[in-house]
Symmetry: C2
Subunit: 507 residues, 2 copies
């Protein structure tokens, strides 16, 4: 290839986005590279071998036809074998950075480059609070979590099913989930995308909010495509790729692999497989619509091989993520990093360890997008009200970490260093007084009091403080303005659409 196509599609920021207005954190530290350049090449080569020799199944007729038309070898079992040059050319069409547009333009975020965006947990059918324990989640719970996510400066994307609203029929959920986010938040939203029909409804709602022209030219939705590892995309996931990509919306390409089950019980093999699956899916999305933004984001955990249970926050997952994050930089694709994953069933000390052990390493993996940054509990089956609040605290700490060290003169405090006498202190220096509010990041619900003060305050454990905090947040929540015309149009569409929807189409 004399002219590498990589440079063509890159940096296609949305025309309308005023990036100067975007208040969004950036990562100012270098990422950690676990592999050498040669080892990185070995991973790439192994992934290419998987794509060329073993292939990826595309269980969908439209996909099969499109792949064949593009010259990909698809066998009778709908397994596509790509050659590496085609993969190279296609993934180069995916932008390395794009804007995820919010209905409030000040809240749009850039995904890619040095930019970072955090989103809350997605997908749990259960909800937990320490007052009542665990129960099935409802639309009221989803509304609560959209409000909590809206209030936090540390979440930049409103998300999707922060909990699954179990009281809404499956086939109507795209309507209620979409409306709840647009109504109670003005941050960028992701839509609802378990199957193509839901994704299509999500696009329709977006057209009402943004107008069809803007949806055609901007990226206002972001859908997660879970490759069914090993090496399989089914018609449900491909349906979502089709709806979102054709509508110019963005995708997160996430092979979900528990090493030892959907991948080998080995770190390198799992990484090579995940990389192959991600690249094939991103390549396919470019065939559907060249330039479709795709976040590269394998989700790698391990199974406890003696019980079969998934384990989050394991050291093997952390090592595997460092490798895939390095691959994302090789391909110049935005990277989705691990969030605050835990296996614990309650907001206890295990949950705290696992959460930090899962997410802190992501900060050294050059994260562009972090889904599940708050609320994830019980291997993703439950959203915890208390953990949501405490995870937000830690998200703030992580975002401060990503700022790195300022190398300004003021950060040396040279006058203080030379003038404070031995055994003296810096509490009252001019330098300290000048920055005592800003020098160090503060949290709200982590307790730094003395034991005596903590005891005086009631000896409250962090889960109980968090219980108080989320209730206080919901009390002070104020809805961001939403144009009445849009609100009514959304409600009209939903009312008109509900009777049209046939539950059997969604099975």
């Amino acid at each position: 290839m004399s002219e590498h196509p990589r440079r063509r599609g890159r940096r296609n920021r949305s025309a309308d986005a005023d990036v100067d207005k975007i208040v969004q954190p950036t990562a100012r530290i270098n990422p950690y590279n676990l592999a050498s350049v040669e080892q990185e090449q070995q991973i790439h080569d192994m992934s290419m071998r998987i794509l060329e020799e073993a292939g990826i199944a595309f269980y969908d007729d439209e996909a099969e036809a499109r792949l064949r038309a593009a010259g990909v070898a698809v066998d009778d079992d709908q397994i596509a074998r790509f050659d590496r040059e085609m993969i190279d050319e296609l993934i180069a069409l995916a932008p390395s950075e794009f804007t995820h547009t919010a209905r409030n333009p000040d809240r749009s975020v850039i995904i890619g480059g040095d930019n970072v965006a955090f989103a809350p947990v997605a997908g749990p059918p259960f909800v937990h609070d320490i007052d009542g324990g665990r129960r099935e989640a409802t639309l009221d719970d989803l509304t609560n979590f959209v409000k909590l996510a809206y209030l936090s400066p540390h979440l930049h994307v409103s998300g999707t099913e922060i909990v699954v609203p179990g009281d809404v029929p499956f086939h109507e959920r795209a309507l209620d989930i979409g409306y709840t986010h647009y109504k109670y938040s003005d941050k960028p939203t992701m839509g609802h995308y378990p199957i193509g029909k839901c994704a299509a409804d999500s696009v329709e709602l977006a057209r009402i909010v943004f107008g069809p022209e803007r949806v055609a030219s901007e990226h206002v939705l972001l859908g997660v495509i879970n490759v069914s590892s090993p090496r399989r995309l089914d018609d449900r996931m491909l349906g979502v790729v089709h709806e979102y990509a054709k509508a110019n919306q963005a995708l997160v390409i996430t092979p979900f692999i528990l090493a030892g089950a959907m991948g080998p019980a080995a770190i390198l093999g799992t990484v090579a497989q995940a990389n192959a699956e991600a690249l094939a899916t991103i390549a396919y999305a470019q065939l559907v619509n060249p330039g479709t933004p795709c976040i590269y984001g394998p989700f790698l955990a391990v199974v406890d091989l003696q019980s079969g249970a998934p384990v989050f926050g394991a050291s093997e997952s952390v090592l595997a993520q460092f490798l895939v994050s390095q691959m994302s930089r090789r391909y110049e694709l935005p990277f989705r990093a691990a969030g605050q994953y835990v296996t614990s069933k309650v907001p206890d000390m295990q949950a705290g360890y696992e959460s930090a052990m899962s997410m802190f390493p992501s900060m050294l993996a050059k994260p562009n997008f972090v889904l599940h940054a708050a609320g994830w509990m019980e291997s993703g089956l439950t959203t915890s009200y208390e953990k949501f609040v405490l995870d937000l605290e830690l998200s703030g700490v992580y975002l401060r970490f990503l700022q790195g060290v300022s190398w300004d003169d003021d950060e040396w405090a040279i006058d203080s260093l030379l003038s404070v006498p031995p055994g003296g202190h810096h509490l009252g220096t001019e330098h300290t007084m000048g920055r005592f509010r800003t020098a160090f990041h503060r949290t709200d619900h982590l307790d730094y009091n003395s034991f005596e003060q903590w005891k005086f305050n009631g000896s409250v454990w962090s889960d109980r403080r968090a219980n108080h905090a989320w209730k206080e947040m919901l009390e002070r929540y104020e809805m961001p303005p939403l144009d009445d015309t849009i609100d009514e149009a959304l409600l009209d569409y939903m009312a008109r659409r509900r009777p049209e929807l046939d539950p059997t189409d969604f099975q």
Copy 2:
């Protein structure tokens, strides 16, 4: 300097240590470098400027005389100003790796290079368990924790005051602390070293256990020297330097700085100060006895500038540690990294977050020695029985992480990758079956059960599981053999020594 002295004193492993027998983890991953080479040089230059212009106070007459004799400029306020060439020459005498000898030679550890050793918390006057809450610690508690540390494969050094035995008078503690470690553990011990007289008694006990000849040629004790930041060593700490260094014992040089109080409210200034203080102290130890092993280990945390409270696990501390760890590699000195520090008063979710946020980054900072790897609670004022056990679990996870990724053929699982069909699974493959016990690290007290199984088991939070675990560990503890002659000699010495000790000498 035509012949750099650095190469002379290095690698002075103890003559007797059979390193082949040492079962000790190593770090096989590269450390993370936060600063560029130029930035690293800037930190070095600023530290040298502090040493040359502002100086370090040595409040001790013996130290003053020794410094003057060596040609260091000491002013009337006992502030020593070093020139950078002398610092360079002296720190080059400190070995980059040494053996910390245990009474059981199989348990000796190498400190430095790629080797890693974890030790339990040191210094808390209080103890906490969830049955009875917080109370003053006793010798029985210390005995319990020495037993727990002995039982754990993830602690390699037995430590010192895992709790302060408050029921033993201060001036007798070196005897009881030393005896408790030698009696109930055969791992390397650190002695008791708040002042020189205690350190001297620790050396005497070691001479009984190892014989005077071995103590003269091996390093069987390891004392922590806390520089009283800013820029001050008092007669208590210098007394310990004198006793340990003259007796050929090893030191951990730890400027303890809460940025904003004992250092400026700035990361770079705090790092430059800590580096200056550590280097001056290491240089001074070489004047006392050239070749004295010194672990380079600043302890950096921040104060909450609005309440004055210390904060552990802050992102600023993590950034600062990445910088000092980089400096330790520049000077080719063993590095002491942060342990599982928390401000939380109880083993709750905050404690889990803070613990991981403090210690996981240490794993990327090339840790050679990690003090406070288990049990630390309440800003170091309390040792928690439950957190001790849970911290051990995480220590195991961290040690696995340090092993990195094997780049062997078997780690690619190439046959499985190519032969498991799309949508199949790897649970039953030959590759998985061959390694299902070893592929992934397992923990004992982190719960990976399903919600239903967890509920069936009693819905137990992690602190309650840990409560059960430490009691079970104490029940199954079996004392390692200790030669009767040594045991009696230790008891004789203690009985003889107690009446000699004058409490007023220890004030």
